[in-house]
């Protein structure tokens, strides 16, 4: 029973990690490799607001989300705009920006036991005989809301685009770059904001350090690869596979083997169905 509960919680955390990345990619085809960096930067921001500016929690958190969302927006207009359409350059820019942020944070000493965010509410509840703290319930709730939001947002944005007559086949139009930069920057902003929301909710569960940024990115990528990049159900399934896989491995084999799960799952998926379990795009479909 505790396996079920902790497995679900872990899976939803993984889904939370992935939501922002998925959204940005789903709407504008941009893979934001700075995703993990933005996640942990949110933590840093909330921490600074709380401890250095003395702002209350219920202000620090949302403010940070807005700031990070805005940062995503700025990232697009400042850097990506000039290289949009050149896939290599886009990749390098988001990746380099992400690493630069993470390494800067590490250099400034953002690791160690003093860096942690307080829980929203202390205490917990018993579910089926298993103790679950309120924070984790928050996480689950937020996760479910965000996933639904993701699905609706991506789905209706695509419909909206089609209605605006952007193209009969909006995928083709998007990939040809007809989409306006507004959509691109907005998708990056919202994706970043979602990463920030995930950070605000999940980070209180443990200590913060910049290395988490890399971890989040890896997990987000893993879930996206396993489930399929442009599929929300895929993302959910992917996160549950990795989530439950990890919890079960930790329980029955040993915690140090947990990391094998995402690796094995990726290799498995690559061999069986490379575009992801729910991957909509077999390479031929888009070979127009």
């Amino acid at each position: 029973m505790s396996l079920l509960i902790y497995g679900t919680i872990t899976s939803i955390i993984l889904a939370l990690y992935t939501v922002g990345f998925s959204l940005t990619y789903g709407i504008s085809g941009l893979a934001n490799f700075a995703h993990g960096a933005l996640y942990i930067l949110t933590g840093y921001s909330v921490f600074s607001f709380l401890n250095q500016l003395g702002l209350p929690y219920f202000l620090s958190a949302p403010l940070s989300v807005v700031i990070i969302g805005f940062l995503g927006f700025v990232l697009y207009w400042g850097l990506l705009l000039r290289v949009r359409g050149v896939p290599l350059a886009e990749l390098i820019v988001t990746f380099a920006a992400g690493v630069a942020i993470l390494e800067l944070l590490m250099w400034k000493g953002f690791y160690g036991i003093q860096y942690s965010l307080p829980l929203f509410v202390r205490g917990g509840v018993k579910l089926g005989g298993v103790a679950v703290d309120y924070q984790r319930l928050f996480v689950v709730g937020t996760g479910m809301v965000l996933v639904v939001l993701l699905y609706l947002f991506v789905h209706y944005t695509k419909i909206g685009l089609a209605f605006r007559g952007m193209a009969q086949n909006e995928r083709t139009a998007l990939s040809v770059g007809i989409e306006s930069d507004w959509i691109g920057s907005l998708s990056l902003a919202v994706g970043s904001a979602l990463a920030a929301v995930a950070a605000v909710v999940v980070l209180p569960l443990g200590m913060m350090e910049s290395a988490i940024g890399y971890e989040v990115l890896i997990y987000a990528l893993a879930v996206a690869i396993i489930g399929g990049l442009e599929s929300t159900p895929g993302m959910i399934v992917g996160s549950f596979i990795v989530g439950f896989g990890q919890v079960a491995t930790a329980r029955y084999i040993g915690p140090k083997w947990m990391i094998i799960v995402p690796l094995a799952a990726i290799i498995f998926v690559l061999v069986i169905r490379p575009s992801g379990l729910f991957g909509k795009f077999k390479e031929l479909e888009e070979r127009i």
């Binding site: 009969q168 031929l284 127009i288």
Partner: protein, 253 residues
């Protein structure tokens, strides 16, 4: 019936999102035939080409080429079997000299096999091919960067690229679109020559006058369905076709 069926299309269908691009299209070609495919914009002609050449996988139906089922195979496999095509939106490498564009098909295993393994100088072969197509070697036209050539030349370069593969079936997708009358006039004889040399050709065109001069048969598509098939005269006098082409007048003959 002379010869076996060279190409047989059976009930091909494909939809994208909510749009039915091609619906239940069937036709067949004998070896050496010249088939024209016409129809209003959006009638699924290019999708049909994509379905035959492997760029798009059909929802249902079959493509049988020289007795072999090639439905849904990879584009390079199909091209390797001898089906070559041009693209409506020309796909060339503008930052390369014109003749270098031909190096790519000339590097394929198909061409290597057909030339009996002697590699020769691909550069020379490419320049020769272009010269035959009207890119005057003496004026160094084949050596010009593809990006610097005028549109009509680009279309012919695309044709040269398709021919460099030594195809048995050539599919032309709106080759004449964007070409000036003089360019059309100089390209048409080339195509006729290919046909006389035995090449089987499918030609999608909007310029019906020129098309009807060279084809054996015509097929008409509208909204993804075949609405008529036959000689140019038969087809253009069919009521369904006239309705589809409302307002467009064509002189035949």
């Amino acid at each position: 019936m002379e010869g076996d069926t060279f190409l047989k299309i059976e009930k091909l269908s494909k939809h994208f999102g909510g749009v039915q691009a091609v619906w239940d299209v069937s036709f067949s070609l004998r070896k050496g035939e010249f088939l024209g495919v016409i129809g209003p914009n959006g009638s699924g002609k290019t999708t049909l080409v994509n379905l035959i050449t492997g760029f798009v996988k059909p929802d249902s139906g079959k493509v049988i080429y020289q007795g072999k089922d090639i439905t849904g195979k990879m584009p390079y496999t199909i091209a390797g079997l001898g089906i070559s095509r041009t693209f409506q939106m020309v796909r060339l490498f503008y930052n390369l000299p014109a003749y270098k564009n031909l190096i790519i098909p000339l590097s394929s295993s198909r061409v290597k096999k057909l030339r009996g393994g002697e590699y020769g100088e691909r550069d020379d072969v490419a320049v020769d091919l272009l010269d035959d197509m009207g890119f005057e070697r003496d004026s160094f036209v084949p050596y010009k960067l593809a990006g610097s050539l005028p549109h009509g030349y680009l279309k012919r370069l695309d044709l040269a690229r398709a021919m460099a593969l030594r195809p048995d079936l050539l599919i032309l997708d709106e080759l004449f679109s964007g070409m000036a009358m003089s360019e059309v006039a100089s390209t048409l004889p080339l195509i006729e020559k290919f046909h006389e040399e035995g090449l089987t050709i499918i030609m999608i065109e909007h310029r019906l006058k020129e098309l009807f001069r060279v084809v054996d048969r015509v097929m008409v598509l509208n909204f993804g369905e075949k609405i008529a098939e036959g000689s140019p005269q038969e087809v253009m006098s069919a009521e369904t076709v006239k309705k589809a082409y409302l307002g467009i007048e064509v002189e035949i003959g």
